[in-house]
């Protein structure tokens, strides 16, 4: 598969009154053409900052990209000026935000907001742009699109506004679509529609998608591959089956086990991950998850674990995969769903880089 985006050892920090926040601490991953990568992780783990770095939307100051490369089609975005980025944003990469209420301009007709983007990136007439806008609204499933283009955002419901946002994001046929929790503010029924829409768009337009969420159900629905973030790092990354049916990192276990499932009539307690996420102005030594990890090893408190590779596509950053480590079985809730997947190595291999 061909790589569209390669992020290498990305480090992003913010200077704040409380100290220097190391929001992203050495993140590396790829996105292939036409695939959906989901990023999951708890609030503050650096999901948004990672993607904002890709779009160069980090406010500088107080933020800075301290280190790393972001290669889009082999071209590094990090050294680009904001003028150069303007060409790329919307055209090659575009973004859908969480809040459909605030990300549309309330005083502009919906159609005009779409044609604005089309006209900016394509050398077409106004009429063609208008036609394209109507097509886009139809594509995202808004009925009577010819009338709707002349309406204002407040005349649309929340779910429809999010569809409009998606239409705007698609206006210039981006190669990469970044969706930062696009369904969190919506109801399940509308969420289901938007997820279906995103999947059909991927098929029809062929865009790659980075999908940020903290809902594992949503991940299982949309993702081809999944990256799990914790405290500014990717702690596990693999195909959606690998993450759900054979997770290796204790944080991923914790996430899976803390969700009740619909079919099991559980009587016992949910397996909560104890404690709270670490303070990123002063990340703990060793494995940042150790203080909340019931399976933490002595070494977790002393040294940061390297990445271990468990299949051609599956990596996890935990000492538990080290040959010296004791054999530990995941919690019951994870074990129950565990499967043997094709392609898994006999033994995990320690790697320096993904």
């Amino acid at each position: 598969m061909e790589k569209l985006l390669e992020v290498k050892n990305l480090e992003v920090g913010f200077q704040t009154y409380g100290g220097y926040v190391q929001a992203v601490r050495g993140v590396s991953f790829d996105v292939n053409r036409g695939e959906t990568l989901a990023i999951v992780g708890e609030s503050g783990s650096g999901k948004s900052v990672t993607t904002q770095a890709i779009m160069k939307l980090i406010p500088m100051p107080p933020g800075e990209i301290r280190n790393g490369q972001i290669l889009l089609d082999g071209e590094d975005l990090v050294p680009k000026t904001s003028k150069q980025m303007e060409k790329i944003l919307g055209q090659d990469v575009s973004m859908i935000f969480q809040d459909p209420m605030t990300s549309l301009n309330p005083t502009m007709r919906v159609g005009a907001q779409i044609t604005e983007v089309i006209l900016k990136h394509n050398n077409v007439s106004k009429e063609t742009a208008n036609k394209k806008a109507i097509e886009l609204l139809e594509l995202v499933g808004i009925p009577r699109a010819e009338e709707r283009v002349r309406q204002y955002p407040h005349q649309f419901s929340g779910g429809m506004r999010q569809r409009v946002m998606i239409a705007i994001a698609l206006a210039a046929n981006p190669k990469l679509l970044i969706a930062d929790e696009p369904t969190t503010a919506l109801d399940v029924t509308i969420q289901a529609q938007i997820l279906e829409l995103m999947k059909s768009i991927k098929k029809e337009v062929g865009s790659s998608i980075i999908f940020i969420t903290h809902d594992l159900g949503v991940v299982a629905n949309v993702a081809d591959r999944v990256a799990v973030m914790y405290a500014g790092q990717i702690v596990e990354i693999g195909t959606v089956d690998e993450i759900f049916y054979d997770p290796r990192h204790p944080y991923t276990w914790g996430l899976m086990a803390s969700m009740p499932s619909l079919e099991t009539v559980d009587e016992g307690q949910l397996e909560a991950i104890p404690g709270t996420p670490p303070d990123l102005t002063n990340p703990p030594k060793g494995d940042a998850f150790a203080p909340r990890n019931p399976y933490a090893l002595q070494i977790d408190y002393e040294e940061e674990p390297p990445m271990f590779q468990v299949s051609p596509t599956h990596f996890a950053k935990t000492w538990l995969l080290h040959p010296e480590a004791p054999r530990i079985d995941p919690p019951e809730a994870v074990l129950k769903n565990r499967r043997k997947l094709a392609g898994t190595f006999e033994k995990p291999v320690m790697v320096m880089e993904v």
Partner: protein, 307 residues
């Protein structure tokens, strides 16, 4: 690959330190402490604060550090230019302008602060009740405020002066009779916005009465805008006093305020400019100081501007 640590004993399960994970390491910072940290970074506002401290200190000790009294005439030495003897010179009756300036500072600052505090008290109660009760009560209370606001200020002041006679009390009353309306509107807006917040609802479900909700929840959370309005009211009052004195509606001699001094000094501007220069300069400096402090406070206290 050489980084492989080879110590077996490191690979034993020791588990979580969950109780540690609940710990908060950062030092506890109250809202006001944090606001102060922000305010401190604002150079102009800090300069204003420093200036204000100097002005207040001088108002306190100024009249005492020269051997002249502010009210004692010395016709032999009238209209002296600034010198070693009389640092700011003397006026037409030979009174020491330095002593008078700081005596005037007391009165000007007093008027400003008193007017602002009265505005504050009335504004908080009126706006707080109107906003909290809402509905008809709110409508009636705010309509009354609107009507009062509609009466021309100067007219009101002149009527008061005529009825009550000129003086410090009348001056303050004149300024506050409509001055509180701005404060009331600010407080009402804040309260309207805050009263549907969940922490207020929580307090109501606990059985809190209106007084508790107003004074424990609504007013403390409106303190930011209230304080900003307050710091911006003081210079307005000082200026109004000066302006009224200038029009001859101010205080009676020998009382000195910066307004009366400037008003006395104006006719002599051509020959004895220091008589206008000093009070005018200090009026400007004070107004400037309060304004930059107010702006600094606004930035420091507004959580939206802070994040």
């Amino acid at each position: 690959m050489s980084a492989l640590p080879n110590k077996k004993d490191k690979f034993v399960v020791v588990g979580s330190q969950a109780d540690h994970a609940e710990k908060i390491n950062k030092p506890s910072l109250s809202f006001w402490k944090e606001a102060w940290l922000h305010f401190k970074k604002n150079k102009l506002a800090m300069f204003g604060a420093l200036l204000l401290i100097v002005l207040i200190t001088m108002a306190a000790i100024g009249p005492h550090i020269v051997k002249y009294d502010y009210a004692t005439n010395d016709l032999m030495n009238s209209n002296q230019p600034p010198s070693k003897e009389h640092w700011f010179g003397t006026d037409d009756l030979g009174r020491d302008v330095f002593a008078r300036t700081w005596e005037g500072a007391r009165i000007s600052l007093f008027i400003g602060i008193a007017a602002a505090l009265i505005d504050l008290a009335i504004g908080i109660i009126w706006g707080g009740i109107a906003g909290y009760k809402g509905g008809r009560v709110d409508e009636i209370m705010m309509r009354i405020a609107d009507i009062l606001y509609g009466i021309p200020n100067l007219l009101m002041i002149i009527i008061l002066m005529v009825v009550l006679g000129q003086g410090l009390g009348t001056m303050i009353l004149a300024m506050t009779i409509t001055g509180w309306i701005g404060m009331a509107r600010i407080v009402r807006g804040q309260v309207l916005q805050l009263k549907t917040q969940e922490f207020v609802l929580a307090s109501r479900t606990l059985g809190a009465d209106s007084r508790r909700i107003l004074f424990k929840h609504l007013i403390p959370n409106s303190m930011g805008p209230i304080l900003v309005t307050l710091t911006l009211t003081i210079p307005t009052a000082i200026f109004t006093e000066a302006f009224l004195s200038f029009l001859g509606l101010g205080l009676n001699p020998p009382l000195a305020s910066w307004g009366t001094m400037a008003s006395d000094g104006l006719p002599a501007l051509e020959y004895f400019p220091w008589r206008l220069f000093f009070p005018a300069t200090f009026i400007c400096l004070t107004i400037f100081a309060f304004n930059v402090i107010g702006d600094g406070l606004r930035d420091a206290l507004d959580p939206r501007l802070r994040k």
